[in-house]
Symmetry: C2
Subunit: 183 residues, 2 copies
DNA sequence: ACCATACATGTCAAAAATGACATGTCGAAA
DNA sequence: TTTCGACATGTCATTTTTGACATGTATGGT
């Protein structure tokens, strides 16, 4: 009976399924989009988890390089485990923790004037981040097959997410500024 | 020096700022939209946290009702703490953990045929959930001032989120089905 | 030769979260 | 009247996560 906090396990398995990497490289991956939108983790949880994964036979150390680096590769058992997780319908909804979204939900604790200030900041921030991703998309061109293509899928996901929050924030400000509509 | 996992603290403070509630009612609140999109927590973390909040003078027990229930009310200090948190610009990006989004990022570990199956499921699921929220919005009418109005803001946020993921999933399926565009 | 920086891995105590267990109340239906 | 389910609060051992600390290597600049 293994514990149920399997998400880090699968995040690691998923990254290694694309290509073998060292713990250090995996840590870097969590500092980009993956960690920003999907799942954050630091090296202090990644290294021990890699050890457990190796014990369970889901990954293997296939090379040791300079500066003591160890390259991990996913095994067949690991691939099976990952596919099972991805293909299984999410029975109970997965864990969700997002501090930014929490702030939005807590807006009701502010008076409307303060809420508008916070919404304004959200609108600016998401607008900028969407702009960055749009620029990246232009450079990349059409979606190609293979791992890079999948990366573009994730980037597009992030872009649409930011755009949605951006327009929502603008809409919400409008609602708060406009006094209640009279009949 | 208090720990830095302050999000549950502020979630509780924010809920109590709208109206006084018991631990049980707060737990229920985390089982709805708040827990689904923003921050999940069970009663086993809520009750101890309420105790700590009371110790720090941020909330008070203002009534004890039937079946041993205790109604907590936020104090002035609690309101100040909450406002400080909400109005402070998010210096380093907040913690993010979302199992669903993680699955989307890990799609690259599947072959395109399997990925399309998963995307299909996401599209159906988000489409349904968006439909539910749209129905709720129709019943509720225009956004009004006060706490209910803010609740509508959060609902609209959820709706737009689902719509964005829905159209993204459809788009992504299109990309995967269509073989690479020839020049 | 020295130094800063990025590379690279780890431990460990403390804090936080989870799941299992435990206890008891109140109202309504059978 | 008894039993069921919702109400209501809690503990506790285990697991998970974090932040601080610790160690050492290769590279490029000065």
């Amino acid at each position: 009976m293994y514990g149920c906090g399997m998400s880090l396990t699968h995040a690691l398995l998923g990254l290694l399924a694309v290509e073998p990497r060292s713990g250090y490289e995996l840590t870097k991956a969590f500092e980009t989009d993956l960690g920003r939108y999907a799942w954050q983790a630091g090296h202090t949880s990644i290294y021990p988890e890699l050890g457990k994964l190796a014990e369970r036979g889901l990954v293997e150390v296939t090379a040791e390089g300079a500066r003591g680096s160890k390259t991990y590769t996913v095994t067949d058992a690991g691939r099976t485990e990952l596919r099972t997780w991805l293909m299984s319908p999410p029975t109970r909804q997965g864990k969700v923790r997002n501090e930014q979204v929490l702030r939005m939900f807590m807006l009701s604790a502010l008076d409307p004037a303060d809420a508008v200030v916070v919404l304004e900041r959200i609108a600016v921030s998401t607008g900028e981040q969407a702009e960055v991703l749009r620029a990246i998309r232009e450079q990349a061109g059409p979606v190609e097959p293979g791992p890079e293509g999948f990366g573009q899928l994730a980037a597009e996901y992030g872009l649409r997410q930011f755009e949605a929050v951006h327009t929502w924030a603008l809409w919400a400000m409008e609602q708060l500024r406009e006094p209640v509509a009279r009949s």
